[in-house]
């Protein structure tokens, strides 16, 4: 660990603790990566995550061997855990894109400390999400049939199906997120290359840095590319989960066929995403002692976004109930009755508790700035958002229009195995990321320092975006 320490802790409103210099920022962040000792805590965490990843490997292998019958799905519930988990993971990813793209374009400079980390979370969440449609296919080796290519069937994918839009929404999202993350990493990879002390890391970081020398033209091109990717990623924050919601809304199943779904899903996605960023950031800033970079101000801001999106989600729940009553459509009424008093009621009560009631604590500044409390709330919201998808998928499918097509559903041990397994995949990837790549953008952090904003040219420091920062 670096011996650099700031003068004091960051106060309210400060997004980096005072006392840091260009050098100390570089040292502190890159020392986490370029450190010859392997922390026992990290290794133990990785071992645990890897064990969970093996649950995924075993569950997926057995699924491929035996087929989808090992899951709890059957008529009428043919969308079980797989779709619940898919929507949950994809939603989690959205916070990363919002932080990196929208907050960048809105010049929210506090994003700098968390964007790298959040984008990595997005990528890993999308990787987990992508597992589910593939495994749900039963024959994943035919997944390429979803792509429009000149096949020997003389067929194109069914463009009228939202499931096909989903393929494009998610694959575009994964591609843009990866590019955005990588482009943002290039200057830092060059820093790590230049600091590398052994041949191997020097070569690997050197290859990844793609010849970055930090010349003015490099920076100019970087800014253009990063800006363009931000502009590309911005609509994706809204479009991806909108398309995911179409998977439901375009169907005529009661409880799904509503116009509120797209905005309500997008808000829910950002809600769960910020919850996950907090779930991860709070322990990480503690363990790696980077509270001077990820300050309580950051936690406060993220908690505020969570509160806002949580209220939109709560409004969505309210509108669902209101529209059921107002439309006087007996099937919609039945859906709500099923949630209030029917077979899905306990899940629904838990969902309201987790997603609507508990997050109201975020109105209090004390709660927003106390990491331990915020951590617990973020876990509760994660659980709540999973339950929301469970209520939507299972609740509506078990109680369709016709009583003759009613049924029951419960996940089997293999459903749980795959779900827990993807959490293992997520944590494994995240832990490896923390160790091998700079979890905070080094060069962007420097733009937050006073040295990056020299006076004397008549500029107002507040108007300095990182675009004009010292290179």
């Amino acid at each position: 660990m670096a011996t650099v320490s700031p003068l004091r802790e960051a106060k309210e409103g400060e997004i980096i603790a005072p006392g840091h210099t260009f050098g100390s920022v570089t040292d502190k962040i890159s020392d986490i990566v370029q450190n010859d000792t392997i922390a026992i805590g990290w290794l133990a965490s990785l071992a645990f995550a890897f064990m969970m990843l093996n649950i995924l490997a075993i569950s997926a292998a057995y699924l491929l061997y035996r087929g989808l019958g090992i899951w709890g799905i059957n008529v009428p519930v043919s969308w079980g855990f797989a779709i619940v988990n898919f929507v949950w993971w994809i939603g989690i990813g959205h916070a990363g894109t919002l932080i990196s793209a929208i907050l960048l374009l809105l010049r929210q400079r506090w994003r700098t400390s968390i964007n790298r980390f959040a984008e990595a979370m997005t990528l890993f969440a999308v990787a987990c999400a992508g597992m589910f449609p593939l495994l749900h296919m039963g024959r994943p080796y035919f997944a390429y049939w979803l792509m429009p290519y000149p096949n020997t069937f003389g067929l194109w994918p069914q463009w009228r199906s939202p499931l096909v839009w989903d393929v494009f929404a998610v694959s575009t999202y994964a591609t843009v997120s990866l590019l955005f993350w990588f482009v943002g990493l290039v200057p830092d990879l060059a820093t790590l290359r230049d600091r590398a002390t052994n041949k191997w890391t020097q070569t690997i970081f050197g290859l990844l840095a793609m010849g970055w020398r930090g010349s003015a033209i490099h920076w100019q091109r970087y800014e253009v590319a990063y800006g363009l990717l931000a502009a590309l990623a911005t609509p994706l924050v809204v479009s991806v989960h909108t398309v995911v919601s179409f998977d439901f809304a375009a169907g005529i199943v009661p409880g799904w066929h509503t116009t509120i779904f797209p905005p309500y899903f997008v808000a829910g996605a950002i809600y769960s995403g910020f919850a996950m960023v907090l779930t991860l950031a709070i322990p990480v800033r503690q363990v790696y002692n980077i509270k001077d970079f990820i300050t309580t101000t950051h936690l406060d801001y993220m908690a505020r976004i969570m509160l806002t999106t949580g209220l939109i989600v709560a409004y969505g729940y309210g509108i669902e109930a209101f529209m059921a009553w107002y439309s006087a459509n007996k099937f919609e009424v039945a859906v709500m009755q099923n949630r209030f008093t029917g077979v899905i009621r306990w899940e629904y009560y838990m969902l309201i508790l987790c997603n609507v009631l508990v997050p109201q604590l975020l109105w209090f500044k004390y709660v927003r700035t106390t990491p331990s409390v915020l951590f617990v709330i973020s876990l509760i919201v994660n659980l709540g958002m999973w339950l929301e998808r469970y209520v939507i998928v299972i609740g509506s499918l078990t109680r369709d229009n016709l009583p003759s097509s009613w049924g029951r559903y419960s996940g089997t041990i293999w459903d749980w195995g795959i779900y827990l397994g993807t959490i293992g995949l997520f944590l494994t990837l995240l832990l490896i990321f923390l160790r091998v790549l700079p979890m905070i953008s080094i060069f962007e952090m420097k733009t937050l320092l006073p040295e990056a904003h020299p006076h004397g040219h008549g500029h107002d420091t507040k108007n300095h975006g990182h675009q004009e920062s010292v290179k």
Binding site: Y149, P150, N151, T152, F153, G154, L155, R193, D194, Q202, T203, G206, M210, G211
Partner: protein, 220 residues
């Protein structure tokens, strides 16, 4: 600080970026060609048979009708491969001493079938019915090609789904009068039409052809 990479890496990096694109294009193009090649589809591959039965000789030179041997083609999904008895109708009288026909006589004497090698193999998950195609005016030659010119039979068409759909989506391109189904030399002009287009449109209407392109038409 010394350079990490040799200067050749400048070229290598550019080539590798272009190379990936070129490689992806070649792979895609190669696969496109491979799945449609005779190697995969079997088009034009002449198969060996236990007896070198020549359709060219029996159909073209002797003028035997298709239905003489393929008896159930009008009434069944399966056109049927004739039993040895059908061969023996003639070959108990002619070429009785032929060395080439020894397996036929052997089959007849021991009452065991001749095991022909199948040429047209439709995938097992596809439902195909000869009789409906005959009744709606699709000639043998449209799918099987000039069987009357083949000694040993070979596959004329790919039997890929895109090939099935080519006709199912526009049957007017292939349909012919019902009385010309077994005529290998038929031309639209013979039936008094200007061309296939004119004949196709008229016959699609006349035979009430509504060829199915829904999944369950074939994948039942």
């Amino acid at each position: 600080m010394p350079q990490i990479f040799h200067r050749a890496f400048n070229t290598i990096s550019v080539v590798s970026i272009l190379g990936v694109a070129v490689l992806a294009g070649l792979t895609g193009g190669g696969l496109y060609l491979l799945v449609r090649s005779p190697y995969t589809t079997g088009v034009g591959v002449t198969r060996d048979q236990p007896i070198p039965f020549s359709h060219a000789h029996h159909v073209n030179e002797l003028g035997i009708d298709c239905r003489y041997c393929h008896t159930s083609v009008e009434d069944s999904s399966y056109a049927s491969v004739p039993p040895t008895k059908t061969c023996m109708n003639c070959h108990s009288q002619i070429w009785v001493g032929s060395e080439m026909l020894a397996p036929v006589r052997e089959s007849y004497r021991t009452d065991t079938s001749i095991e022909w090698n199948r040429v047209h193999r439709v995938a097992e998950f596809c439902y195909f019915n000869h009789s409906i195609h005959i009744k709606k005016g699709i000639g043998c030659v449209s799918c099987h090609g000039r069987i009357d010119h083949m000694h040993l039979v070979r596959q004329q068409n790919t039997l890929l789904m895109e090939w099935c759909l080519d006709c199912h989506r526009q049957p007017e391109k292939y349909v012919r009068p019902r009385d010309q189904i077994y005529n290998m030399n038929f031309k639209p002009q013979d039936a008094g039409y200007k061309n296939q287009e004119e004949m196709g449109k008229a016959l699609v209407e006349k035979y009430e052809i509504r060829s199915k392109t829904s999944c369950s038409a074939c994948h039942r």
